[in-house]
């Protein structure tokens, strides 16, 4: 039986990928950020998950305005890094886990989530930057990755409550899979950032920190935050945080916070990162 051991939240700013890819990770601007992920790299290297379910949003890279899925699950064998206008990131091709992905797709559709199944998809910085932060720059990613792309570009995104419940359905699906896989789920995007217009550069550390606190202790309350509050308090692209609730829904009601890191700035953005473990891994 497969098992979800832990959840990771992590911002996915494109400039972080560019800094790594261009050898700037040691510069004074970037050093504190990458240092903040050193404990996490050690943690995941020790945990050795077989599969990461990576919740992220596509930024108009794989999906155009021609077709905008609310939830799209990547069931392919591999996913190539996208060319977002400056060439594809020089990172390994992402290997999927088609058996588990199809199993999750089937299970959550029968649980009345209206998934889009995707068998061909390039993955942009939203997916590859969190992998870089957690795994560094290996020649090959050390585990399989199942991408779950959530629409947060076209209004309206799914509600926080819907995301939270999808997380629960994913957990149920994983636990009914008949191979002994060790799974970690990532929720990515956020924290507060606004990339557009005269209010660009908005950072609201109080909102962010309270969000992290409640993500640990009171996710149900978070799931009730309306979209407008994210946009007002955390910036127009801060709405990406709604995706973190999918990760949280897939964990136990009570979790152990094993690590937290918060940093400003990365380009226009606050970076939030946290590792949550199910309290009794192996007991499920």
């Amino acid at each position: 039986m497969a098992e979800i051991l832990a959840g990771v939240v992590c911002s996915h700013v494109p400039a972080i990928g560019a800094a790594l890819d261009n050898g700037k990770a040691g510069e004074p601007y970037w050093r504190p950020l990458f240092r903040g992920f050193e404990p996490s790299k050690a943690w995941i290297a020790q945990l050795k998950p077989d599969v990461v379910i990576l919740v992220y949003n596509d930024h108009g890279s794989a999906f155009s305005l021609e077709m905008i899925p609310t939830f799209a699950l990547g069931c392919a064998a591999e996913f190539a890094p996208a060319d977002e206008g400056w060439g594809a990131r020089p990172v390994p091709v992402v290997e999927g886990h088609p058996e588990l992905a199809w199993h999750i797709a089937q299970s959550v559709i029968l649980d009345e989530f209206d998934l889009t199944i995707v068998n061909k998809m390039d993955v942009d910085h939203g997916l590859t930057v969190p992998l870089s932060l957690m795994f560094g720059q290996p020649a090959q990613w050390p585990c399989r990755v199942i991408p779950l792309a959530v629409n947060v570009v076209q209004y309206p995104p799914p509600t926080g409550n819907r995301c939270y419940n999808l997380g629960k359905a994913i957990r149920k699906a994983v636990e009914s899979f008949d191979q002994p896989l060790r799974v970690v789920i990532f929720g990515t995007g956020g924290m507060s950032h606004q990339l557009q217009g005269p209010r660009a550069g908005l950072i609201n550390p109080e909102f962010d920190k309270r969000f992290l606190d409640r993500l640990v202790a009171d996710p149900q309350a978070l799931a009730r935050i309306p979209h407008v509050e994210y946009v007002r308090e955390a910036g127009s692209e801060g709405i990406e945080m709604v995706m973190w609730l999918i990760m949280r829904g897939a964990l136990d009601d009570t979790v152990k916070e094993v690590y937290r890191f918060y940093h400003v700035p990365a380009s226009n953005t606050a970076v939030g990162h946290m590792i949550l473990e199910n309290v009794a891994p192996g007991a499920a």
Partner: protein, 131 residues
């Protein structure tokens, strides 16, 4: 079809709802076309000629040629799409963000290094009007 009106009170912020998505469809699809190197080359070689492939309004085309980043958004552009035009120009997200705020690059970078734009005073249009 539009978002709830509460969104309209947030200053300096356009929500990409169905109305904007319809208005900006071809502008955004143009931006997305720049994900292909051959399209970037064609656009760089003759921007005006390349834009003819996308049936957008003259105002939209002009905003692209002018690199008027705020105007593109007002005309239905979405930041994640216009960012592809920025990437094609070799501009970072931070550079176009500074341009959209009307600050200097140095001033904007400095603001970010000091914790970014504060939320106080930036929640409601009424706060901007008073300022």
């Amino acid at each position: 079809m539009s978002k709830p009106s509460e969104f309209d009170d947030i200053p300096g912020t356009l929500v990409f709802d169905g109305e904007r998505s319809r208005q900006g469809y071809h502008l955004n699809m143009f931006c997305m076309s720049l994900m292909k190197p051959e399209n970037r080359e064609a656009f760089r070689a003759d921007g005006r000629a390349y834009l003819v492939r996308f049936p957008m309004t003259p105002e939209q085309a002009q905003s692209i040629l002018d690199r008027d980043w705020n105007r593109m958004l007002e005309l239905g552009g979405n930041i994640y799409y216009t960012a592809k035009l920025a990437a094609c120009d070799g501009l970072s997200f931070q550079q176009i963000a500074a341009l959209m705020t009307g600050m200097t690059q140095a001033g904007y970078a400095e603001m970010m290094l000091h914790g970014g734009r504060p939320i106080e005073g930036n929640r409601s249009k009424s706060e901007w009007d008073r300022g």
